[in-house]
Each structure stands twice: as C-alpha cells, then as structure tokens.
C-alpha cells in the first residue's frame, strides 16, 4: 500500500468533504505525484485559496498556506519569488481560480512563474452551496441558475494555454492514475503548469442536474472523455459533447524567476562598473 500516512496530518481527520466528493481522489493523486518526484517534504509548499478543494492542504504535512478566496496564486507568487528552492503547488477550485481569482491566474500564466496549479473543476462553488460558477456548462442547473445557466462556460485549460502557460493537462477523477502522472509532470516542469481535473460534486452539481451518485458521475467521466491523441483523429460530430483529456499543451518558455535573476545580475554588474 502506498505510504500516504507519511504525508498526512492524521490529527486533522475526519475531513470535511461529502461522501463521494472528488477532492479526496485529487489529494491522493497529489501525494503519489509528490512521492514519485522524490522531492523532500520540507521543500514542498502547498498553497490554497478558499473552497472545498482549498481545504486540501489542511490535511497535508508539508509547508502549507491556506489563504483568502481567489488569492492563492498571488500568495504563491510571493512565496516562490522569496524562496525559489521550494516546489510550489497551488490547489484551487474553479471559482477560486477563474472567478474571484481569474486575474491572478491569467497573469501568473503570462509571467510563467515556476509553480504547479491544480484546479479542481466541479462546475460550481461547492463550499457556499453550489452556485453558478464561470465553468458551469451552459444549460446546467445550480442553486443560482435553477432553470439552467444562460452563460457559456470558461474552458480552463484553453484559458491557461491562451494566457501563456507552457504546460497544461486536463483529466478527471475517474482517471486517477493519469491524474498523478500529470501532476508529477507539472511538478517536474519548470514553469507555470496547470492541471485541470474534473471533480465530482455529488452534493451540489449532480443533484440538481440529475447526474446520479458519485460512482455514476465517475462513470460519466469515463464515458464522456476522449484522450487528446484520439480526439485529433476523430470527427467533430463524434467528439461533440466529450471532454478532451490528456496533455493539451507542452512547450518551453523562459521562466520568470530565471529572467528576474538574470536582470538583477545584469543591473548589479552594470552598477559595479
């Protein structure tokens, strides 16, 4: 059995999550990814905002920071710039990252600061009771769109790629093994890595949308996702309504801390003369 215990704050259990919530699946995948990276515990910092997903670091025995709603990436930015040897991992929700914190998200991607951002996309604001979020699919119900959402949704991964993130992957809680692989790749990648994971919220998303229980939601992910390599050779009709998963983008770009260090070295040198 995987030694989860060495990474957990056992005294913080039981956790707050509902039965069947996807947050626990992501938590375990994150631990497997960190274990595989062989990075010592003390060199890892996990930062979150506010939300069900953002409760993750509370259960984890690393350097952890539970910040304010929407500001996880902003806090993480300061942390990374001050302590560059830390592996900074941000765990955040769709609301935290793309509603109230949307601006931090796109600007951190633009800057290409070295950190890994795991976005738990459950299509709603879970913690406050299932209100419509920027990722609620059009037509879907939430507590503030009881007859269906009239707005189109953000494609988080697409947004990250467009804003300049060099590594972007998407998967679901059904694909738990793939999930830890992608998180690990994100951690190992130098630069702003985004892993979007579709997580079931049986309590507030499944119920109003009649998507069944947690197991049925996972089955839904299984049946409605399509691996990017396959998607490339599939007609638009065939993949309509399916979620493309996989490593959606992987490129290289100068990383912010490096660029910053080079600049300060150059200025220091120039001042000496």
């Amino acid at each position: 059995m995987f030694p989860y215990d060495k990474y957990l704050r056992r005294d913080k259990f039981p956790h707050i999550w509902c039965t069947g919530c996807g947050c626990g699946i992501v938590l375990k995948a994150l631990l497997r990814a960190i274990e595989r990276s062989k990075i010592p515990k003390d060199d890892v910092a996990i930062v979150s905002g506010i939300g069900c997903s953002s409760r993750t670091p509370g259960y984890l025995d690393f350097n952890t920071l539970h910040t304010t709603h929407g500001r996880a990436i902003a806090f993480a930015t300061g942390l990374k710039l001050a302590k560059r040897k830390l592996k900074v991992i941000v765990v955040t929700g769709d609301g935290d990252a793309t509603a109230i914190g949307g601006n931090h998200f796109i600007h951190a991607a633009r800057r290409n600061l070295d950190m890994t951002v795991i976005i738990y996309n459950n299509y709603i604001y879970g913690m406050t009771g299932g209100q419509v979020s920027p990722t609620t699919p059009a037509g879907k119900r939430s507590t503030t769109s009881p007859h269906g959402n009239v707005e189109p949704a953000f494609d988080i991964s697409g947004l990250a790629i467009a804003a300049g993130a060099p590594f972007v992957a998407r998967t679901t809680c059904y694909h738990a093994v793939q999930l830890d692989k992608y998180i690990n790749k994100g951690i190992m990648k130098k630069g702003f890595s985004v892993v979007e994971v579709l997580t079931p919220c049986p309590t507030y998303y499944a119920r109003p949308n009649r998507l069944g229980n947690a197991v049925e939601m996972l089955e839904w992910y299984k049946n409605n996702s399509i691996q990017i390599e396959v998607a490339r050779n599939t007609s638009d009709e065939e993949k309509a309504g399916k979620i493309t998963i996989g490593i959606l983008h992987d490129s290289d770009r100068p990383e912010f801390c490096d660029v910053y260090s080079q600049l300060s070295a150059r200025v220091r040198e120039a001042n000496k003369e």
């Binding site: 709603h69 009771g129 419509v132 920027p134 507590t143 009881p146």
Partner: protein, 390 residues
C-alpha cells in the same frame, strides 16, 4: 401573515417584496442564502429583477454602482471578506450618492479564518459613508430591510442592514410579513434626479475632482449624513403607523428606573433583554440600551439613554485595534465628554469569532456593574470577556 423564517430567508422575502431593478452578488457564508433564495424568485418570474451573479464582490458592488447610477433600485448581500473586497467601491457608492442597500450578515474578518459572528466586518467600513443599521432579530431584519430602501433613497446615501451571522441569519423565528401589495405602496418608485442612461440629458459622474472642488463635494456628502437621523425617524414612524411595529435609532429596554445598564448592538440586545427580565424578577434595577442605528451615530438619543444610569457596561463585538477598546465604548466616551454627569463606563469586548454569549454571562456582567456602582470604581476599563488567560 405570520411565518417562520430564518434571518436570511426573511431578508430574501423583503427583497422579493421590494422587487429591486437590479441585484448583483457573489456568494459568501453566512450571507449566501439571501441572494440564493432571491435568485429563485428571479428565475421563477416572481420578481422582475435583473440578477447579475458576478465573479467577485468587487464586481458585484461595481455592477450595483452602475445600475444605481442609471436610476435603478439596487440591492445586494454579503458578509466579512466579501464586504472587505467591496471596500474600495463602498466609498464610491457613497461619494456618488447612490442609494444602494446591502443586506449584510456579520461575520468576523480573517485572520484567523472564521465564519462566525462578530462585527469586525461592518465596523471596518463604518467610515465609508454608508448608513449602518444593526438588527436584533429576524423580524427587525425584515422590517429594516424594507425601511432601508426608503431611507437610502430619501437620504441619497447607501445603507447596510446587518444581522448577526448564524445567530440571526440561520436562526428560525416568528416573522410577521407585510402584505405583498403594501410594500410597493410604502416605498413608491425610486425617482432618481439623473440617470446615466438618459442620453437626452447627459451627465458626468465620478469625474476627477482635485484640489479645486473635491473638498466641497466631500463636505456635501458629510452634510447629507447630518440629515439622515431625521429621515430615519420619519421612515420608522411611518412604518410604525402603517404596519404596527415601532423602531427607534436607539432601543431602550426597561431604562426608566434603571441604575445600571448594558449597551450592545445586534442579537446580543435580545439575549440581554432576557437577562434584564430575569434580574428584574429579583427586583434588580437593570436596563438595556441597544444601538440600532450606528451610522450616522444617534448622539442625541444615545446621550439621553446612557445618562439615565450610574454605571454602563458597553459590550462591543469587535475591537478598534487602537488599544482604546471597542467602537461603542469610544463613541460613548466621545459624546459624553461635554456632559456634567457621566455614568461610570466599562468596556466588555466579547464574542469575537462567534464565541457564544449566554444569558448567564450577561447576568454576571450586570452583577459586576452593581459592584462597580457600590465601590464607585472600575478596576479595569477594558476587558476581553471570557478569553482564556485574561
């Protein structure tokens, strides 16, 4: 109609009856339900409101400012961190003289992070130019929400009506509702003098205003605040006459022959009244004062009330972080400066982060006030009630 409602439900019900033109909001515990319930009225067509589920509180209140500038009747609801995030725009709403109403559910500000009641959130925005009214129970929250719209529109200033997080917001109580048809009659339509959308009469709002006229404009805003108390009195009277429930800016309870009294805000007023009744049964002459309107500060009514007693225990559910105690304590010391006879005052900071205050604890405080009356001295002027290691 008599119904059972939580504070949040009652405020949502008031909003339904008010049927504002625009509501823009972002959810936050423990205020979420107010707008969430209201959104179901929007979606079911019970109200004709434009509902904007914004992506943060900053955007929500900004949308409110835009809509209110266009002449719309506008409401929102928030709490704690949400109000803090609105902070920048709160001053703009007041400066532009926009009568927006916020249903505010009091919750402590982070850090440490907490979701329960104290008054640090609303009191952190006390200087923003908003009218602030603290309610004691669900009925009052409902009634005051209705009145606040009228007060704000008459004063041309924004107003927040607060309930205590979880204590009132989630506590179910008996509420007497006004008839649906009565509310529009009571409120009338908002008649804004100008509208940003009136293209035939274009106006400029919020223009750059430097050393030349900023001060005059700010002065006129302050002057508007000077005129608010009579407006509140008038609206409260009208409400009382129409619907039979009477309110004052300062609520006095069994104060006529009281020797010692407690001054508090919000739900503690209700708890304190029960303590007063119990002590009165034992023949003790105790009274309670509740500050209902906090901004503008009802100096006259408060002076009248606090001057009735020899000893006053002032209960503040927030600290000013000035080392000088809580908000009410400071206000009272300030207004009493010119008085010949002042009660001896002791400040009890209590209940931060939602720590409960019980009837028995308030009885203890009264007992202490009697001791002070006897000795004529206060050992410690500011205490942090019930804190470990104090």
């Amino acid at each position: 109609m008599i119904v059972a409602r939580t504070g949040n439900e009652a405020m949502a019900e008031a909003m339904r009856q008010i049927n504002p033109d625009v509501v823009a909001a972002y959810p936050i515990t423990p205020a979420t339900e107010v707008v969430q319930l209201f959104s179901t009225f929007v979606h079911d067509g019970t109200v004709s409101t434009q509902f904007v589920p914004a992506e943060s509180e900053h955007s929500a209140i900004s949308a409110c400012v835009g809509a209110s500038s266009a002449g719309a009747r506008v409401m929102t609801s928030t709490s704690s961190q949400g109000l803090a995030l609105m902070h920048e725009i709160l001053f703009i709403a007041a400066g532009l003289r926009l009568p927006i109403v916020i249903c505010l559910v009091n919750r402590s500000l982070s850090s440490p992070i907490n979701i329960h009641c104290d008054h640090s959130d609303s009191l952190a925005s006390r200087d923003s130019g908003w009218i602030q009214i603290f309610t004691e129970n669900t009925q009052e929250a409902y009634d005051t929400t209705l009145m606040a719209v009228k007060i704000a529109e008459k004063a041309l200033l924004p107003a927040m009506v607060t309930t205590d997080g979880f204590i009132i917001s989630h506590g179910m109580e008996r509420v007497e509702l006004v008839g649906d048809a009565e509310v529009p009659k009571f409120l009338g339509e908002r008649k804004a003098k100008t509208s940003l959308l009136d293209v035939d009469n274009p106006i400029t709002l919020g223009a750059l205003d430097l050393q030349d006229y900023f001060f005059e404009h700010k002065r006129s805003e302050i002057d508007a605040m000077n005129h608010v108390l009579p407006i509140i009195d008038e609206v409260q009277k009208e409400f009382g006459k129409k619907f039979g429930r009477n309110y004052n800016t300062v609520d006095e309870y069994k104060m006529d022959d009281a020797e010692v009294a407690i001054l508090a805000m919000g739900s503690t007023g209700g708890t304190g009244k029960v303590a007063v009744d119990r002590l009165r049964e034992q023949g003790k002459k105790v009274g309670l004062i509740r500050c209902r309107v906090y901004r503008p500060f009802p100096k006259g009514a408060m002076l009248k009330a606090v001057s009735k007693v020899k000893v006053l225990g002032i209960m503040d559910r927030a600290d000013t972080m000035s080392t000088l105690g809580g908000h009410l304590y400071n206000e009272c010391r300030s207004i009493l400066y010119d008085s010949e006879e002042r009660p001896i005052m002791k400040n009890y900071i209590y209940g931060l982060g939602g720590r409960d205050i019980s009837i028995e604890e308030i009885e203890d405080i009264y007992a202490e006030l009697f001791n002070i009356q006897k000795s004529g001295e206060v050992d410690k002027e500011i205490v942090y009630y019930g804190v470990r290691g104090e």
